[in-house]
Symmetry: C2
Subunit: 201 residues, 2 copies
């Protein structure tokens, strides 16, 4: 059994949202699974002098246009939300807490969070909204509140972010790692597909 494709993402990244709608089909086509790994892109930005794409002059309006165009091409519901970006920490913590219990449920939660923010315009930077989404997924609100404040869960996200940035060299989202080979950006999904098809070049 081959290693899973590492899919590093931030719940506040539009291009990671777009890639998230496509990565599983590509993995499945090649008999692979996907390891979903949320991290805090803001921490990576501190290392690399990065900032949200839409905050750059010229590049900002282009990026907003390109995100919508890319989503349209792939039939993905998308509207750049307001506010943007938001702090995705609570969503990422809940994900890791769930993932230890039930990875399928964690994945369903991740998809629900992405849809809530980028399709339905709900502010996932608000902890109350994240909890609402989790409850809509059938989770117990009291468990969730405890989880979001659990020091072990906080530590897990901190570790994941450190692993991404310090060990794996992840500086943007989405960032995919296939058998050690790094691919940055939603536009690299097709390259990952060809890489797996051919065995690399």
């Amino acid at each position: 059994m081959s290693d899973p494709i590492e899919f590093w993402f931030d719940f506040s990244s539009p291009y990671a949202y777009i890639a998230a709608q496509r990565i599983e089909a590509v993995a499945e086509k090649h008999g692979r699974t996907v390891a979903w790994r949320p991290f805090l892109l803001g921490v990576a930005f501190r290392e690399t002098d990065g900032r949200p794409l839409t905050h750059f002059p010229l590049k900002g309006p282009y990026s907003a246009h390109d995100m919508a165009r890319t989503a349209r091409e792939h039939g993905i519901d998308f509207a750049l939300p307001e506010p943007f970006p938001v702090n995705s920490m609570v969503a990422a913590r809940v994900f890791y807490w769930l993932n230890d219990r039930d990875p399928d449920q964690a994945l369903a939660f991740a998809k629900a969070v992405y849809r809530a923010y980028f399709a339905d315009g709900r502010n996932i930077g608000e902890p109350a909204v994240v909890l609402e989404i989790a409850v809509e997924q059938g989770l117990d609100p009291d468990d969730l509140k405890a989880a979001a404040e659990d020091p072990a869960v906080k530590e897990k996200l901190k570790q994941a972010t450190a692993e991404a940035v310090q060990e794996k060299g992840v500086f943007g989202a989405p960032f995919m790692i296939v058998d050690g080979e790094p691919f940055w950006g939603a536009d690299r999904i097709d390259v990952v597909d060809r890489w797996l098809e051919t065995g690399g070049w």
Copy 2:
């Protein structure tokens, strides 16, 4: 006859070099021509707070790896040159001077400059190297020296760069404009292909 595809590039941009090897085949496939438009990316970077990709922590090593991988996939000779980046002003001026006289010769010169820098590692930031390349293309060295210092030629590049950045919103290279639709990045060549195929979406 449809409008040509505008292909904005800087002679010092590796991804524009890669795109330059592919854009004409895509245009031809759809019955289009390409308007080759060098500009000074450094001027755009002053507007957008940009800098060469390889100068970012983490993103730098990744980009160098991705450029080489992208070139390999498409069978394009490539080695990230040293020094990098260089000032592409003289090459761009000679291009515009030639383009007024003989667009085919200007295109052959552009390809020769790109090959010299990204395949053969010659320092095209040196005016003497640019003149050497032009002479190898059969041009007269005295004409060239005069052209590179001609105020009208200097003005032409200045105008082209202003048109790119101020009017067209070009902030990176390569940057392609197809019937008003902007596409940034070598990885958007395939998107341009599908856009022309389908008439857009």
